[in-house]
């Protein structure tokens, strides 16, 4: 079971969390002015990389807060976690845990 560092609570076991898919997908400011293709991209298209992936997680059996994480999809290693609204850190920097 993974240990995940909630930015607000510290390290907690994986079972306390829920993953909410890819992070940094901005909801268009004015959806009605967004083209069908762009809206479909926002709704359905995701990157699914092999390697470091920015994800949304929520500490739903803890503080209940959403945050972002960089996770390596190959090793399952959490590179770092960071607060919602802050930009994606450089991959590999600010390592939470080896």
């Amino acid at each position: 079971m993974l240990l995940i560092r909630c930015p607000y609570c510290g390290e907690r076991p994986e079972v306390e969390f829920h993953c909410g898919g890819e992070a940094h997908i901005a909801r268009p400011e004015t959806p009605t002015e967004t083209s069908d293709a762009d809206w479909a991209g926002f709704l359905y298209y995701r990157t699914n990389p092999r390697g470091v992936h920015a994800e949304r997680w929520v500490h739903n059996h803890g503080c209940g807060r959403w945050f972002n994480a960089l996770r390596d999809t190959v090793s399952d290693r959490f590179v770092t976690t960071y607060e919602m609204g802050t930009p994606r850190p450089e991959a590999g920097s600010d390592v939470t845990r080896a």
Partner: protein
Amino acid sequence: MNQPFRLAAGGRVDRSRPLTVTFNGRKLSGYRGDTIASMLLASGSHLAGRSFKYHRPRGILSHGSDEPSALLSVDWRADRGPGYRDPNNRATVVEAREGLVAKTQNHWPSLETDVGAVNDLLSPIFVAGFYYKTFMWPRKFWDKVYEPVIRRAAGLGEAPEVPDSDRYANRHAHCDVLVVGAGPAGLSAALAASADGSKRVILADEGFELGGSLLNDATSTIEGKPAMAWVEETLAALDARENVVVLPRTTVFGYYNHNHVAMVERVADHRDAAPESLARERLWQVRAGEVILAAGSHERPLVFENNDRPGIMLADSVRAFINRYAVLPGKEIVVATSGASAYRAALDAKAAGMGVTLVDIRLEQDCGAELADARAAGITVKTGHTVIKSLGTKRVTGLVVAPLGNGGQIGDKTTLACDCVGMSGGWTPSVHLFSQSRGKLAFDAELDAFLPGQSAQAERSAGACHGVYDLAAVIADGAKAGGGSVTVEATPSYTGFQPVRVLPTDADPSRVKAFIDFQNDVTAKDIKLAVREGFQSIEHVKRYTTTGMATDQGKTSNMNALGLVAGTLGRELPAVGTTTFRPPYTPVTFGALVGPARDDLFDPVRKTAIDPWAEKNGAVFEPVGLWRRARYFPKDGEDMRAAVARETKAVRTSVGIFDASTLGKIEIVGPDAAEFMNRIYTNAWTKLKPGRCRYGLMLREDGFVYDDGVVARLAEDRFHVTTTTGGAPRVLAHMEDYLQTEWPDLDVFLTSITEQWAVIALQGPNARKLLEPFVTDVDFSDDVFPHMSVTSGFVCGVPCRLFRVSFTGEQGFEINVPADYAESVWKTLYEAGQKYDIVPYGTETMHVLRCEVGFIIVGQETDGTATPDDLGLSGLVSKVKPDFVGKRSLTRPDMVASGRKQLVGLLTKNSDEVLDEGAQIVDDPAQPIPMKMLGHVTSSYASSNCGRSIAMAMLADGRSRIGETVWVTTPQGFTEATISNAVFYDVKGETADA
């Protein structure tokens, strides 16, 4: 008590504590400190089971958890009744206790006479891949012939017939260092790691005595003292340290992410007087800063014809039985080996009084100091010899050996009479846990073994599992892994060996059974056949032959199998690769994994405050989400249809009472509450006045209906939202997600109030008359408190939120009271309702009533692909709001295209016929298959109020087809139905929409 093969003195058994166990109905005698295996050997017998496929008699191969052959069904507490037996216990690790009842497995009618042994003679049909080859055709043979055969043969032992009667515990723990294995490496590691008193150390070992390989060693010394004296001193030092927890009888079986390690501790099985309240086993989940693996190694069997006969065991196991248990495994032993370590076994057997001959595959010049030591002790050593085969069936009676010439030719054969063979094909480091940790294995050609290579986690290996075999080096390696440094003087170990795969023989290899995997009955010939048939990857050979796939996970067999595949392919061993080791290291009981989460605690049932009343009053319940809800309240002899007909009638003619407490309820509070509601729901909320309610519809961002429910505005900045029963948690999560991640600027708080407010629904023309006398501080007049409004007050003196709403089409009230008061309010209203013939009704009646008036249920009419328009609910979608969740998706091309399924009613031609929910709808039942399916039935009931059956359906372009006829599938074929509006009952009173 008869223990003819027990030595008069010595060993680690406690002779002051004699005991007996029952083995296949007869008594075995022994002592505390014995295993069932050592007691069986003390009685003079090796016969401990029949093999899986060929039903060959099998003995005891090893002395530890790697035992593949001696598997027992053990009843641990036969005196307490059934439910304490489990199969596949390895006789070599079952700690003997007075009263254990053990049985061997895989034979009928008895161990000595097994009818299935005929399989041994039919063995040509049981070759590699026989399941795949034999059971493919003819197809009709499957049910009658193959399946019963496979079912009888598949799996080892017999599953228990009754539920496990034992209790199991679990525990979570944290430590800085977890040491796995308490042999010389592990003890040394734990001592070093715990020197810093601030470090929490856990030392776990699967054995009931700690010391690992040193328990079997009567001759080695450490610092001039017997090795076990060093063990005892080290354990005493660890015991004296408060930062150390020592756990015997605790198997580390799983190594997961981030040093999350699972172990099972056997708590009660060995105790004579264990209170029934004591858990049998405890599952430990440990999060360790570092893990030190000191798991030792497994000895490899030699591969020769009939190497599985009872009496043939691993050489180091011979040593274990003699030194630790003071039991002779026979009178005349041949020790056959390709390495030095087995010489210790030969020397110990000789010292214990056995007749000993040593057969070494190695040439004279390849042997070390061990050769001279053996000869000096008077042991005949035949170097440069191979083993052709063993003699005997239920017990080995001799070993046929022959010298190997320079070109590998077989010389003159000699038969060595014996009743015991100790064999050694070298050692395999136990890298199971390292491999589970996702570490990379590296092949060491000199040791002919895979060793831990690159680590994936904070872990280190030490001792034999690290490829270090010499005793002094093992202790140094352990200390180093523990962060220390130590140098000890110890007896040099006999190390060094020459890898052999299958021993050279002049016999026709296709006629020889030389076993690689004893538990799954896989022979060398099977593996060669698999390779000949084109299997090259070890993962494929493994699955095709089933080698290494039994409950022992091939601990004794993996390297022989790998080596044989590599040799047959003419490749280097690492090129063939190794199989993946997976948890559990040894079999774990389901009880330990499940722990207390069984029976009522497996999936706890949510019950409402009114549930006890419903149970007392004969409700039939149904599960809804995690809740159990009253479905209907049958009166004597009524079936569901009759009860529901009576309940639905009563609601429309007088009054019914319904427990709606499971409705999800969320309070949305804050200065921006209305703005938040505008963004989350399709409806417009700004103009809704405090004290008024509105039916709200919620979409996902993709435009499909997500949930619905009545929303009350309690104040400018406060909404009381209701959700479907099953939807409450995900709706709250959905709202929280948007609030936190998309609109963090909104000043709003969301609180679940589902559990806090119980809801009593009164529905029917007499609802107001019944309720009004019990309510204070509320004006019931229609202009002050009309349909779709909410107010606060007191009911029966209890504070309440009173909703005037209806999910039945009748005049209705939903009385929200604090859950603790709900049952008493319910009882008061029910008593008072007797003068109106009040009827309690359940979810089935509620479903029928709402369907009669055309209300949908999200999750029943919708399946995650329905838009508001599909459901005929476009009137609830605000045209003026610039944005809300899902709005943009509603104009995507496919969402507005024709041909979408739309909500309609269906009226069967035969008004008594009730359609199946989920039934498909077609235009022409005579069309060829596959038919064009136009939609499906979503709800269907017999309606006493309508005097006929009614159904809702989602049908392609359904709203433009009203009045037309379609055909609906039935179990018998098709039935005709007319498309109608999805409203079936004309209510004169209240209406649903605000």
